[in-house]
Structures are given as structure tokens and as C-alpha cells.
């Protein structure tokens, strides 16, 4: 408001007022005073009115903003569940990997030991110093070793594939963490708008210009990432068997 920066009454008006008073024209004098004060209060009233409306709007806006309620009620607990899912998945992957490594090591060691135990006789064969009895014995041992080694190689391959598959956790947890990061961003935005709404009313227009994006429509084809609560939902499949059943019911 700029009222203090200019005269509340002009010199001409003051002179006129003195003139009326000297003349004893009370009616004219009162009318003039009214006009002068009215001009100021009209401005003041309209300013107060504007502020009231902005405050009203900002309070309304704040209440209507379901985003904050929604964040607190659903999304924060949801984020907690997601982070727990991350811990579980990484733990599972670490255990799967270590189990496979622990199962692989004895197989590799066993192969190594058996090769070492055959080595002396084999060296003799290569040096053409082997006796017939030893040679027969070596043949049996080698025969057994070769067939066992084929089985062991298969087993190792299976274990290595298990380790490979366990690394899928990075994709699954990565998708989940991305969603939590989005949520953190949203909480941050909400806090900023809350501060803006209650801080400087004049800045409200900024928020209004910024359409909120939190209205999450449950677009059925929209990607959701890994389902962390499959057992409590009936709109999701709980594994590959469900997928196969669903697809075969569609004629696949």
C-alpha cells in the first residue's frame, strides 16, 4: 500500500475545507471530509478483500490437495514395503549366489583331487613305463573319471546359470527403487507447496500455474514394475504358471 507515500489530502481540498468552515457551512465541510476519507478506505477495503480471497483460496487449495493425504496414507507405507522388498530380494540373490558357489567348490575340488591322484600312473603311461596291471587299473579309473566329469560339468553349468539368474535382482530392485525416488521427489514438491501456501500468499499463483501430477489414474496398461504385494491382490498373477493359464484361457 502506498498511502503513506502521498498526501492524504491535497492542498486545494484543505483550502476548500478551511473556506467551508470559516463560512460555517457545516454540510459542505462534512461532505468534503467524507469524500476524502472514503477514497482511502475504498482502497484499503479492496486490498483487505483481495488478501482475504487469497487466504481463502490458499486454505481451500490446501485442503483440496489430496496429494498430501494420499502420500501419508498410501504412498509412504507403500514406499516402506518397497524398500523391504529390496532388502528381501537382494538378500535372496546374495544367498542364492553363495549357495551356488558353496555347491560348486566341492565339485571343482573333487575333480582336481581325482586328477591329481591319477597323475602318477598317467605320467608312467606317457613315459611308456607303465606295467600291464597298472595300465588296466588306470583305464578303469580314467573311464570312471571321464563319465563323472561329464556329470560334474553339467552340475557346474547348472550352478553357474543359477548365479547368473540371481543377478536379475538388480533389475527388479532397480525398478522399485526408481519408484521410491519418484515418491521422495513428490514429497519434496508437496512440502514446498505447503510452505508456499502458508508462507507467502502472493506466490500462490506459482503453485496454481503448476498442475499437480499426483492424480494417479489406474491406467491398466501402464507399467507398474515388480509387484511387491502379489499375495494380497487379485488383479495380478503370482508367477509364470498363472501367466500361462491366463494366456491359454485366451487361446494361446
Amino acid at each position: 500500500m502506498t498511502t503513506t507515500e502521498r498526501d492524504l489530502v491535497s492542498l486545494d481540498e484543505a483550502k476548500l475545507l478551511v473556506e467551508y468552515l470559516e463560512k460555517g457551512d457545516r454540510e459542505q465541510a462534512n461532505a468534503l471530509v467524507d469524500t476524502i476519507t472514503m477514497r482511502e478506505s475504498t482502497e484499503l477495503f479492496s486490498e483487505v478483500g483481495k488478501l482475504t480471497r487469497q487466504l481463502h483460496d490458499s486454505l481451500n487449495n490446501f485442503q483440496v490437495d489430496e496429494r498430501i493425504a494420499n502420500l501419508m496414507q498410501d504412498e509412504i507405507p507403500d514406499a516402506r514395503a518397497r524398500l523391504i522388498y529390496v532388502i528381501e530380494e537382494t538378500e535372496k540373490a546374495a544367498n542364492t549366489t553363495m549357495d551356488a558357489v558353496e555347491a560348486s567348490m566341492p565339485i571343482a575340488e573333487g575333480l582336481n583331487q581325482r586328477i591329481t591322484s591319477i597323475m602318477p600312473e598317467w605320467q608312467k603311461l606317457m613315459g611308456r613305463q607303465i606295467e600291464l596291471g597298472e595300465f588296466k587299473d588306470l583305464c578303469h579309473k580314467l573311464d570312471k573319471l571321464l563319465s563323472d566329469a561329464a556329470i560334474d560339468a553339467d552340475a557346474l553349468n547348472t550352478l553357474l546359470t543359477e548365479i547368473l539368474m540371481a543377478q536379475g535382482y538388480q533389475d527388479l530392485t532397480g525398478q522399485v527403487i526408481r519408484r521410491v525416488i519418484e515418491l521422495v521427489k513428490e514429497v519434496e514438491d508437496s512440502l514446498v507447496s505447503m510452505l508456499t501456501a502458508f508462507g507467502d500468499v502472493a506466490e500462490l499463483t506459482l503453485i496454481e500455474d503448476n498442475p499437480q501430477t499426483s492424480k494417479k489414474k489406474t491406467d491398466i496398461v501402464k507399467a507398474e514394475g515388480p509387484i511387491i504385494d502379489a499375495d494380497t491382490r487379485d488383479d495380478v498373477v503370482s508367477g509364470q504358471d498363472d501367466v500361462d493359464d491366463l494366456l491359454s484361457s485366451l487361446g494361446f
Partner: protein
Amino acid sequence: MNKNMKILVVDDFSTMRRIIKNLLKDLGFTSIQEADDGNTALPMLLQGDFDFVVTDWNMPGMQGIDLLRAIRANDNLKHLPVLMVTAEAKKEQIVAAAQAGVNGYVVKPFTAATLQEKLEKIFQRLG
């Protein structure tokens, strides 16, 4: 199954691309290329005489379902078999993928055996 067929693996996570690539190699496939979303994949498919696509659903840029639709809408690509390998597990999504013409749907986390089974099924059907 022709082990020399050209395969494109589309996933935004490089770890998952490596996993699928390794599984496919283990199954004897030798010609495998990668793309990190539909926008990268589509031009590659249009230029590169691929025989098979394995794609994720949830990717920044062009999502897998849109890539599938783009493939089916293109006269040069529409015959291309597409296997979806994704964490997306909503029934509506699986139905939507089926309607868009997907050839197989594998939900993550998956096993090597599942991937192999779906591959065999797809190529058995195609003859």
C-alpha cells in the same frame, strides 16, 4: 530352431540384458544384439533383418508394449516373433500384450528353463 537367427534383446537394465544374452548363448544362439528401450530398438529392427525380439515392458522412452504395437503395425516387421520378459504382472497387462500380438510372456523373476520352454514353444508354433 535356427541357432544363427538374429535376436534383439531390449531392456533398460544392462544386467538383465546380460542375463538374457548369456542364457541365449547357453542355448546355442550366437547372433544377439541389445537395445535399451523401444526408441533404440525400433530403428535397429527396421534396418537389421532381425528374426526374433525379446523385450522388457517397463522402460523409459518407448515401453515394450508400444514397441510390440509398433512392430505389429509395420508391414516389414509385423511377422517378427516377440517374447516379452517383464516384471509387469497385472492380468490386464498380460491380456493387453496378448491382444497386441505378443508371442510369449515371461514374468520376472524367471528361470532359465522357463525362457527355453517359451522360446521352443514360439518357434514350434511358427514352424
